[in-house]
Amino acid sequence: MRALTWKGKHEIALKHVHDPQILNPSDAIVKVTTTAICGSDLHLYNGYIPTMRKGDIMGHETMGEVVEVGSMVQNIKVGDKIVIPFDIGCGGCLHCHDEEYSACDNSNPNFMIPEKLYGSSGAGIFGYSHMYGGYAGGQAEFIRVPYVDTNSLVIPPGIDDEKVLFLSDIFPTGYMAALNCDIKPGDTVAVWGCGPVGLMSIKSAFLLGAERVIAIDHFPARLKLAADCGAEAINFENEDEMLEKIKYLTGGRGPDSCIDAVGMEAHGHTVLNTIDTVKQKIKLTTDRPDALRYAIQSCRKGGNISVPGVYGGVLDKFPFGAAFAKALTFKMGQTHTQKYMPELLDLVLEEKIDPSFVISHRLRLEDGPEAYNQFNVNKDEFIKVIMKLQ
């Protein structure tokens, strides 16, 4: 089969590789129909996530048709069209039982790496480094899905892939980010980053009853999409005193909740972000957390900080004193995707939301290497790339 593979920093290659096979009796093999490049794939592309190996197959936003199932599989059958969550739950541990799938105990065969780095290991993730299990990803013609009974959402016939593909990651991720804000009537939510996850967070915040959403970014096309979603858009590059502006817009209090949908590669020209950028380049720090700093500084007293953006290591100049003084609540983490997929599918089927509004480019798998490059350097135009295989 053909697959997009990681060759090194800023290098993705289309290669012919062996087809996947059933390795455990709870596996399934899926013929991929549509896959996407996620913003968090760029952390791999830019070399900021450790434990990638040359030749790793990329991709964690995938759907397709089941072509083979193992002998233990009970709920999924050949011919089913499924969306595959990006994180892999075993379905049998305490965390999966409590619907904390991204904290699964059993799905990461390389659990020793995150145990050393983080104290314990979360779930394996498709195509997201050996620290997260080293699973082959879905930017390929076929993918093996472990524990497929847990890691699949069957899609009714006749539904366009584009409407449901993002149930694999960005829609549940934006939704969980908004849920983590504990939104109450009248609330204002501020969202840093108007990429696909930020846009899904904006949509979800309104779905969950937010009165207002303030969206912060510096790419005009992304800010326009945020405004189209109903948010009040702020281009931080045009604002000398962004914190003051956000405070003014919220009656002097600050947003009730702040979502950091940026993560470890924040942009901007603040002194701290400039220092972060230099230190990150020479590997003296792992993350550029400037969006998170702003979120903490902006948030109202007693408010919520929700972090769907990916972080990898230890954060410099993290204003924990401000968080403590303002009694902020933090919620974060990889999404428990499987928990939210069914209810979000219902919203799509009821036409309450069409997540395909984020798609900017519909390409082929062979366009993948250049699509990664463009997605990385031309974020204003390349907002969301999907690749169709049929």
Binding site: M1, A3, T5, W6, K7, A13, K15, H16, V17, H18, D19, P20, Q21, L23, N24, P25, S26, R53, K54, G55, D56, I57, M72, I88, C90, G91, G92, C93, L94, H97, D105, N106, S107, N108, P109, F111, M112, G124, G133, G134, Y135, A136, A140, R144, P146, Y147
Partner: protein, 165 residues
Amino acid sequence: MTFHLENQYRGESFKAPPITVPDKEIGHYHSANILKSPQFVYEFLQNPENLKAALKNLPEDIENYLDLELIRANASDADEYDVTWENVEDNPISGAITFHCQRAPENRGTILLAQASFSNFSSSDDDPSELIRFFIKRLKALMETGVIATTQGQPSGREELKITH
């Protein structure tokens, strides 16, 4: 494998007994929370096929160095269980691994406490404690899911595949 999976076990509300850390001299010790009943874990650990399955493909071919025989299986009235496996006498590695199973706090399944003491357990630089931890994690995975997560045998771009047209 001869075991069969039971439904996920949450049991009823329960205040668990305290856990004390063993003396360092005892060897290596690890614990795991298993979402199965103590009785299930107890029966599972007495089956040599299950232990073999957990040892398979461990680093340094541990399976080749261990030839375990069951020497003790004990159930108490307090829903606590002990299982001890010992390497056979003529094996160059001597030692034993003891499992203690007790109900987890509230309704969270079973706490499995494992203590192992082996001489010459590893001929390489591998940390025997890490290998025991691998073993316990694999036993937990087998009990909770029936399989051990793996990526061995999956495709990657590291293989050169010749395409003929």
